[in-house]
Structures are given as structure tokens and as C-alpha cells.
Assembly symmetry: C2
Homo-oligomer: 302 residues x 2
């Protein structure tokens, strides 16, 4: 009976079981992922982050061959949802993934990570587990569905965005209205997006500050959603009153590139950096909570 | 920065962070218990089981001095709820506690464990983590409150029992009715018990078999509740048709002492042994899932 070494970590309360599998020896089944993420019978997590070298995994080699931007990526983030299904990208998970790589001495400075949603550049933004992730660009979809939270009034969406997963962003009047929302049931979205959507409810709390709650597709309300945080900041920026720099004394002009939005979610705070070229950067924390050992017999691993 | 060794385990889905503290060096604060039990930012658990020698803990020495039955108990189960509060006993937790002691080679055969609810005898019932716990005797309370599950019809309680925590047991017509219950909201109990109550809804599924769901006081619906399982079996037995042994051919007579009830909960199956002298024994599984290491800095421990 051999033992398997794991870790547990979280980014703004979005938590993961990290499976170091540098040489691609583990072939995690859906059932094993569900057991690892089971919060009562397993370790517990919103998902699994399997850490494998790009060269040691057939899927990663195929993804890298199709992506010219992947040339520098040494590590593949094999991200699985708690239900065992495969997922593309996770803005909170990738910071936890990076924190594992850095704490294990496997990376330094800026580095790239290959994901099923493309290659992402990461940079440590401080000594205490703060990371900056280049999230790519968002696509704005040209239609405005009507959204109704359970038991609440119907409102029009502020924006519909893909980054790359689909988000519908709704503005509420203030933080009290945000707190009063019942998100135990999925909000109604009419018409719905073809592959479903995450729904972000946003209260604007300052010139470049917002508080949000999120209902994730297939999950329910969560403490945090990295791509949802980016989508909310983009939507708020698109609809914020724009000040022409020429109307301001230059010394008092707010810097407009990059534009930094502070986003508060139930699990913590992140900053979204919106660059004038459309690139979106997510700044946020990652915490490694524990190292774990489980028996391969328990996990049902070969 | 030192590290602290922990374990995680469960009994029928009721899960615990085990804190080995044999020599009583840790003084866990409420805040540390809440962090350990936090399912997103910590390890995650329904409670903490701190393992300490009776002689190494002032509270345990005081409890043992008051309890003549504690003379043989070497270990004290310092059980805390996930909210940091102190709890007396847990029928699922004590099996996980015993499984830790046995796997660490600290006990063998039958042994006693001191708890805030008294001393409990434990015996391994098989090689795979099956345990028998002597749960003591139950007290039947002579009043029958009316119970209404959220959105459902009002029914009279079958029995009200203390073992030693308070339980109200309700019979429903069948397993379909059990599944249909909405336990996301605490059932209404009129009149309520002075210190609140756990509420067990029970469907009788065979001569000595039942399926139940439980709403725990201050917690909500859980996958399992050890004392609730015992309370449900006692209530079902009290109300079951009694067969006089003299009316049966002796060779076919069902054994009436002990009386064994099979109780299915959402998290698994236990057996309750009801002895004619009133002693209640709980038979059920315990699983150690993982060994963990956290930093004392993370836990905020001295």
C-alpha cells in the first residue's frame, strides 16, 4: 500500500485539492475526482488541480502543439470540477496552481501555464501569495437578457461576456439589495445562453470599486469566481461615466491606463486591471493550507 | 515555523478534523476550531476531535474525578462543534476517535474513552474500522410535541428522548414521504424543548429496519447523527408490535435480547443494539481519510 501526496489550497475561498503528478503517472478517473472533492467522505474542494509537465501528458502535448503561445509553458493545469467533469480554466485555481509551483521551487519570475482555455502568464506580485494572471481578452455579446433572481424583480443584464466562459452581469442598486438576493436557486435568464451562464450581481460601491455575488453554472452560489470577477469589472467599466482626460488638469488626472477595479466577493478581494489594448489582468491571493497524505488504496489508485 | 500534524476522518459521512495532542500542548481557541472546520479556507469538518491523555488535560482530570466509571479511561475526547463551541458527545465522532487511537497503536481490545457526556466503552467489531460504542441509556420524556416540516403537514412526535442530547422522533408513512421532506429550514416543534432539539424523521422499512433523515440543532440537515440513530431505533422499538415469545415455537422465536435495528441515514448504515437492561450499543464504521500537515503559522498556534 503506497501513499499519495496531495495539498489543499484556496484563492478567495474558492478551494482546490492539488494533485502533484509531475511525471504523469496518475490517470485520475471521474470517480476519484469526486471522492477527493467530497466534503464529508474525502478531502473537499470545488475542484482538483492536477499538476503535470506538458511533456509528460498526451493531452497537454496536443494542446501545446495547437497553441503557438504555449512554447514557453512547462506545466499543464489539468483542472477538473468537483463533479468529475473536465474544465477549461479557473482564475482562482490558476493562482493556487502557481503558488504550489513556486513553493515547490519549480518556477521563478514570470512563467506560463498551459490550460485547456489557452496559455496564461503568471507573475508573483508580492511575497505573501499575491499573483497576477493574464486572463486574455473578453468578448462582448450583443444581446441583453432579462434576469430574475429567485423571488425577486426582473432586471436587464448590464453586459453579456465570454472570458472565455459565459457571464451575465446584472447591476443592483446597492449592497443591501445584493445581500437580500436569494441565490439558493439559479436565477432565471431569458433568453438563456446556449451553453448556460454564470450570473454576477454587482453593486457599484465607488468610482472603481464593486461588490458582487455570483451564481456559477452547474454549481450554485460560490464564495468567488475568478472569470466572473473580471467580467463584472469589465461590465462596470463599460457602463461607468467616462471622463475625458483633456477636461482635467493633467496633474489631477486619474490614470486611465491601466484602469484598476477593486472587486469584493464573499470570499475576499481581488483587483482587475483593464488595459487599453483589451488585455485583462486578475490580481489576487493564493493560500496553501495543508499538505496531505492519502493511501492509494483509499483513492482506488493503481 | 513548526508544523502541526492532523488527520481527517468520517463515520457515515459525519466528518472530523482529528488533532493529536497527546500531551496537552495545544490550547485550541474557538477561532482555530472554526478555521480548521472551514470547508473553503481550512481543512473542513463537522467538528474537531482533540485527542489528549486524561492526565494531561485539566478539564479531563476534573471530569474523571467526578465520574467513578472513568477509572480505566486513558484518553479524553475533547469534541468541538464546527462553530467553535464545546460539545458533550458524538456517536459518530467517537468511532473516528477510536479508529485513530487503534491505528496509532495506542489502544487494543476493549477500552474506555472519557467525554464531556460521560465515559464510553469501545470495542473493534472487525478489521475494517467497524466499532461498537456503549452509548448508555436513554431517558424517555413524557410529552408529545407537534412537529411540522417546512411546507409540510403537522404530525405528532413518536417519542421524545435524551441520550443525553434531546431528540424528537417523527414517523412518516414511507421512504417517498421521507425523500419529499424539505429540511433546508428547521422543522417547527410545538412546544419546543427547553434547550432545543434534534429532529429525526423515520420511515419503517422492515420488522427491525428504518430509514431516517435528521435535522441537527444549530447545524441543519446532516448526513448522519449517532445519537439520533439510537433515538430513532428506540422510538421505533417502543412503538413496534410486541410478540410474546411464548406464542412462538421456540426454535423460530426471534431473539428479543438483544434487539438489533438496522438504521439507514443519507451517509451510510449503522446498527443499534437495544438490550433488555436499557443499554444502547451503536455499531458503525469509521474511516481515516488523510494525514495532514499544516503550519503553526497558518493555524495561528503558539
Amino acid at each position: 500500500m503506497t501513499s499519495i501526496r496531495l495539498l489543499k489550497g484556496h484563492g478567495t475561498g474558492n478551494d482546490f485539492v492539488i494533485v502533484p503528478d509531475h511525471d504523469g503517472a496518475l490517470d485520475l478517473s471521474e470517480e476519484q475526482v469526486r471522492l477527493l472533492c467530497d466534503r464529508h467522505r474525502g478531502i473537499g474542494g470545488d475542484g482538483v488541480l492536477r499538476v503535470v509537465r506538458v511533456g509528460a501528458d498526451a493531452e497537454a502535448r496536443a494542446l501545446a502543439a495547437l497553441d503557438p503561445g504555449a512554447a514557453e509553458a512547462q506545466w499543464f493545469m489539468d483542472y477538473r470540477n468537483a463533479d468529475g467533469s473536465i474544465a477549461e480554466m479557473c482564475g482562482n485555481g490558476i493562482r493556487v496552481f502557481a503558488q504550489y509551483l513556486a513553493s515547490a521551487g519549480l518556477v521563478g519570475g514570470q512563467f506560463d501555464v498551459l490550460t485547456r482555455g489557452g496559455t496564461r502568464a503568471l507573475l508573483a506580485a508580492g511575497p505573501a501569495g499575491e499573483w497576477i494572471v493574464a486572463m486574455g481578452q473578453a468578448s462582448r455579446l450583443p444581446f441583453i437578457p432579462a434576469v430574475t433572481a429567485h423571488g425577486g424583480a426582473t432586471a436587464s443584464a448590464l453586459s453579456v461576456l465570454e472570458i472565455p466562459n459565459p457571464h451575465v452581469v446584472i447591476k443592483v442598486v446597492d449592497e443591501a439589495a445584493l445581500e437580500a438576493l436569494d441565490l439558493t436557486v439559479a436565477p432565471s435568464v431569458r433568453p438563456p445562453l446556449p451553453h448556460g451562464q454564470n450570473v454576477e450581481f454587482v453593486a457599484i460601491t465607488g468610482p472603481r470599486a464593486l461588490t458582487m455575488r455570483v451564481h456559477e453554472r452547474g454549481v450554485g452560489e460560490t464564495l468567488s469566481c475568478g472569470t466572473g470577477i473580471c467580467a463584472a469589472a469589465i461590465a462596470a467599466s463599460d457602463h461607468a461615466p467616462k471622463v475625458s482626460p483633456s477636461t482635467w488638469p493633467s496633474v489631477l488626472s486619474p490614470s486611465s491606463d491601466p484602469e484598476l477595479w477593486t472587486v469584493t466577493v464573499p470570499g475576499g478581494v481581488c483587483t482587475v486591471e483593464l488595459r487599453s489594448d483589451g488585455e485583462v489582468l486578475l490580481h489576487g491571493p493564493a493560500v496553501l493550507v495543508a499538505e496531505l497524505t492519502v493511501s492509494s488504496e483509499w483513492l482506488g489508485a493503481a
